[in-house]
Symmetry: C2
Subunit: 435 residues, 2 copies
């Protein structure tokens, strides 16, 4: 039943989405919200179908020898489905980005000009594993007036098909245009290339996956892509930082959820505070199970403290010497590169060389240092005295997000509803001609 959804060719699905997009762009907020509410309700009502489809994926996953972590990402149950439906209802509550007048004025010649926010059109979302993305991405696109083409992984094919079908049926029943929610099968690289070159019908591709997916798309895509790239995030502890705050923030940024892109990967410490900060901080990191990759200065400091034993032993922390590669690595794991710098300029220089432009933080009590860091660091989010972990659409008050952009064009930082839109100029006159 759940697999009865007819999966047409990539080009057909994209064309249908393009046709739907024209109608969708003009549908008012009330109707979009009603459709989202019906999607949420349908997910609850048809939980059994979803679970049956998910059971097929889980069985294939087990047969294919997927690890426990991957199986857990794949697994759905009643609670998770209720959470997915709840996330859709949260999106109902968000303001509609479409139609907002971003600016407007009367020109000297009397023409009235307004720049208004409008949907992009058709957005393809390419994702791996977690089936909840099927609905999260769909809800964000519907709310922002965009048609969506979904391409999940083959691992979750049955679950994604069930979820997409339920959402599409509910959407159409609520009056949204046929084809506004499309699904193409996971397929291989060839099918990905096919999707990535539908520039006549697609306005944007958002990949949610690892660097492999990014590289595969970069090679072939003619459709614009917003890469939700990796986060090699830094915390710089300035000479004037509050020691207690610094320790709490570094621990939070590294350990609260090490596997995400806004977790800290490198700690830079001003040499004027290193001897005061590091012994306690290294001990705390060790206690939290963090492996430290230390530069020469930190290594020497720990060596002095080691009292002849293994470096780091006295501090109960496992330490290894940092190599050049460490500074460029996004561990996504409880490992932290730690280095000492001699000034805020030195820290900015290091971040400019190795950072990925995601989230960078300075911890300081010095206004001049804070200002220099916020001006000088070229990243999507630059923090003063706070953890990098806050980079998130929800935390930023944007509601849900579909990813986090580290590129500079169009969207930088969390990609929320507004970032799924473009704008157009509406100009109204009364017979105006140009002289």
């Amino acid at each position: 039943m759940a697999t009865a959804i007819v999966i047409s060719s990539v080009a057909d699905v994209c064309r249908a989405a393009r046709r739907a997009a024209r109608g969708l762009a003009q549908i008012d907020t009330a109707r979009k919200n009603a459709a989202l509410s019906q999607i949420a309700q349908a997910l609850i009502e048809r939980t059994d179908e979803i679970l049956a489809a998910n059971a097929l994926d889980m069985q294939s996953g087990r047969e294919a020898g997927l690890g426990d972590a991957l199986l857990d990402r794949l697994a759905l149950d009643e609670t998770r489905i209720a959470q997915i439906a709840g996330a859709v209802r949260d999106i109902v509550a968000l303001p509609d980005p479409v139609g907002e007048v971003l600016e407007g004025r009367r020109l000297p010649n009397g023409l009235d000009i307004r720049r208004v926010r409008v949907p992009l059109g058709v957005i393809a979302v390419v994702y791996e594993a977690r089936p909840n993305v099927t609905i999260d991405a769909t809800a964000l696109c519907v709310k922002s007036g965009n048609a969506i083409v979904l391409r999940g992984s083959t691992t979750a094919a049955h679950s994604n098909a069930a979820l997409a079908q339920i959402a599409a049926q509910a959407a159409v029943a609520a009056g949204l245009p046929e084809g506004c929610i499309g699904l193409v099968s996971g397929g291989g690289r060839e099918e990905l290339a096919q999707l990535a070159t539908q520039s006549d019908t697609l306005d944007l591709i958002i990949p949610r996956g690892g660097e492999g997916l990014k590289a595969a798309l970069q090679e072939v895509a003619t459709v614009p892509v917003i890469y939700a790239a990796s986060g090699n995030c830094h915390i710089y502890v300035d000479a004037s930082a509050d020691l207690e705050q610094a320790q709490a923030i570094v621990l939070n940024a590294k350990t609260q959820r090490p596997g995400v892109c806004n977790a800290a990967e490198t700690l830079l410490v001003h040499e004027g505070i290193a001897a005061d900060l590091l012994p306690g901080l290294l001990r705390a990191l060790g206690g939290a199970g963090v492996l430290v990759r230390a530069d020469e200065y930190v290594w020497k400091l720990a060596d002095i403290l080691s009292d002849g034993g293994r470096v780091g032993e006295n501090l109960d922390v496992v330490m290894e010497p940092a190599t050049e590669e460490d500074w460029a690595t996004e561990y996504l794991a409880p490992t932290l590169a730690v280095g000492v710098v001699d000034s805020v300029e030195d820290a900015i220089e290091h971040i400019s060389r190795y950072g990925s432009g995601h989230s960078e933080a300075i911890l300081t009590r010095d206004t001049a240092a804070a200002r220099a860091f916020q001006l000088g660091v070229d990243a999507a989010c630059v923090y003063v005295n706070a953890s990098t972990r806050f980079t998130d659409g929800g935390e930023f008050g944007m509601g849900a997000e579909i990813g986090n952009s580290t590129q500079k064009l169009h969207a930088r930082g969390p990609i929320g509803l507004r970032e799924l839109c473009t704008c157009k100029y509406l100009v109204t006159g009364d017979g105006h001609v140009r002289r």
Copy 2:
């Protein structure tokens, strides 16, 4: 003398620009404006040098057999140099886009968040012929805090080198970082490909040239490109339009300057007004030297009026039957495709199929038709009762523009100072960690 500028390798120029960009992003408005004023003054003071360099290009151009129109585009004289300097002074007067707080608030957890506008970094501008672009583009980039890498055509090599050198020297003398204005020689496709793949140092490429340049870049570019694409612009005259206004606007949009991207290329007329509007309008178009490519309906109407003579003869207009190709053609010439549609929806459908998303206009006295058109047409600029010729950064009150984007991501419509910027989130806390 003017050609003494040392042209380094593409990669070297881009690297120098990248280094300069970090400093440039932090320089305040007063200093950027002072540098722009000095550039303007240097251009006037060193007019002789510029004219000497230009004479070399003109001589080569004549020897190479360039046509008069191209030679005129290339030619500089005292007046034109004064105009170029004047355009720089106009940019001094524009507000600085950098540092504007686009939005900001205190989050529920007490974090202060601001989204501020910052320069993109390094922008490469690839252009053909007219040497004034060297300075126009430079001034826009300097004002918006961006370093620039210029690549003009070989035809204008001496002129561009002289202009770029004078600008660069004046900029550095005024305290801007060395390397902030770079020039690479015109070279061939291979050098263009080299430029288009400097993704480590370039943030954006803006091509100003024809479809050939666009195609060449699309094939190789790894650096993001904003294409200032072509304009296949439409005027739709609704059943309720004011006849006199309609005639004036169509004539203006087609004939005021036919060679530019915001000139009209297709006229669509509601069948309810065709018999009233077209005889007078076709006659007026004929009088203005416009060749009309007519669909069957228009052809038949003119045939009836021809009284047995050549179609259009009685109306003093040269007419030819339109082919499918005409609807998709950007003539950039005094030629207009004319067709009849039976509704505003039909007009929107036609524009959606053939338009390039640049500028589209409806002429109507009916509010419902105006609303349907502005909602339904997916283009950068959608006009009601005005000529499409107004699509222009200057006309829109944005000051100068560096081109006109028909793409939907990042910039849509005129590309002014703000569109040369990105944004970053500045987040300030007091020891905030994520729970």
